[in-house]
Amino acid sequence: MAIAHAPHAKARVAPWNDPVIRGWFFQIVVVGAVALLAWYLVSNTLANLERQKIATGFDYLSREAGFEIGDTLIPYSPASTYARALLVGVLNTLRVAVLGILLATILGTLIGVGRLSPNWLLSRLCEWYVELFRNVPLLLWLFLIYKVISDAFPGPRQAISLLWSSVFLSNRGLYFPVPVAHDVHRWMGVGLLVGIAAAWGIHRWAKARQAATGQPFPSIIAGAAAIVGVPILVWLLGGAPLDFSVPALKGFNFEGGTVIQPEFTALLVGLVVYTSAFVAEIVRSGILALHKGQSEAAYSLGLTRGQAMRLVLLPQALRVIVPPMTSQYLNITKNSSLAIAIGYPDLVASVNVTINQTGQAVENVLIIMAAYLSVSLSISLFMNWYNRQIALKER
């Protein structure tokens, strides 16, 4: 610093009147008390585990699990390890959470926009949808949907067959044909990635061209074409294999094809209808929060309705919508743990069986918490990043 000022003798402060010392004293007392409590609980726990002869540590993870899981994304058998059983659970949780987030956002946005419809009947209908679904526990919806599915649909032998006996609907789930695995599918995946990259490139190029020449380019259509077109092209080049594995009734159940199980369906439908009611409210208040002057200003500048929506209104509405939406996404992820009540094998269900078999509650509860915390933290980190991207720059 350029200023050279005479140092003044620092007046002496009695330590009990110094806010900094007071602050630290208070903090040390509180932290000490918390640490003492933690030590007390941990020592009790250790003593109890010792007394009840319960093993500690994570060694059990590499042992054979020995229990069946009905719905798996990766190969699993009772001979697999506990670690793999837990991984199956994590993947099942993620599957239902990701799909749930996607569908709840779409449905919720539709309902939310519907509530603002000029049509009186439609807006009332959407309002009652919201009130009905959010004022009753999710768990009750899950039970109801699950029971309706398993009671309303016939057994496999009387299954409802659709589309020339290729799709079957029964209380065992929805069976439908899938293509038989073929090398081309892997290349189609690569093609999809290439298509996405191309779409991004087109978007960047179109933006640059518009900035330079003022000429807009239909980058959305071109990008979509790239994303869909490249994999199809790869498939055609690979000889267009058309072998399907079609489900057929063998004994008491179907074989072949693939299945969406009723537990999964009930959980997904329950999560989606319940959460969409909350999403609808968020979307509605986001749109309502927009000042009317903003749309008027946009129209008076000569922007079309679509442009005004895309360039002026939506970016502002998103700013209001994103934070509460984040917590709804977190809620879906956490609520997917209700799976245990209707028998969908998610993480909590896997852990619950593991606790019952090994008796190691502490380690398993830690695993659940760590798994959900990391999912929750990743979602909130991503949403915070996104929020910063769209945040208003203020002084």
Binding site: H5, A6, H8, A14, N17, D18, P19
Partner: protein
Amino acid sequence: MAVRNLDAAPTVIELDQVNKWYGQFHVLTDIDLQVKQSEKIVICGPSGSGKSTLIRCINRLEEHQAGTIAVSVDGRRIELTSDVKNVEAIRKEVGMVFQSFNLFPHLTILDNLTLAPIWVKKMPKKEAEDIAMGLLRRVRIPEQAQKYPGQLSGGQQQRVAIARALCMRPQIMLFDEPTSALDPEMVKEVLDVMIELAGEGMTMLVVTHEMGFARSVADRVIFMDRGEIVEQGPPTEFFANPRNERTRTFLSQILHH
């Protein structure tokens, strides 16, 4: 303005080489200032010049990082250090009025006034209420005592804020742009109260752009720019022939628009 002999009066506020930074930004540079008892000082300057920060340092709403600030209370000189007792002692004797009033919206006007006397000065409730009603009469709104701040106009709210500060029987009053948030027709009612207060011999430091007020009430006008005291003097001199170029520019902007 009647010429008073301030030289004989004791010094109540002393700032010696006060410096303050916000991060890297130097808000106050080597501020030296002495305020005599019942002196009225008007501080003016462009926005961002550090004038609000200066008076907020005096009751430690802001912490200065170098130099000394001392306030004399009943002849006892108290230096502002991190000692909480000193800060408490000074805040008891220094009242402050804010630009945005900062009345407590959940309390009635009367409760706003009596809160600090009761809890900080340990005054019996009855006595505090009597003082408060007296002050409300002085600022000419006794009939509003049972209302809430939101029910009052801006001018009335600011007068309540002045009464609230006075209710602690302070020896020094700080005003941080008290009329800037008011509609033009309400400025006068607040200034009238402040002029009356000045007439009673209160020591006042006022940050304001009301040059009329400065002319009629101030003993000394201080011009600040970029964190420094650029120029100071009695209002007659200050307005008639400002010596510094920056002062002249500022005055021409503020007086001729």
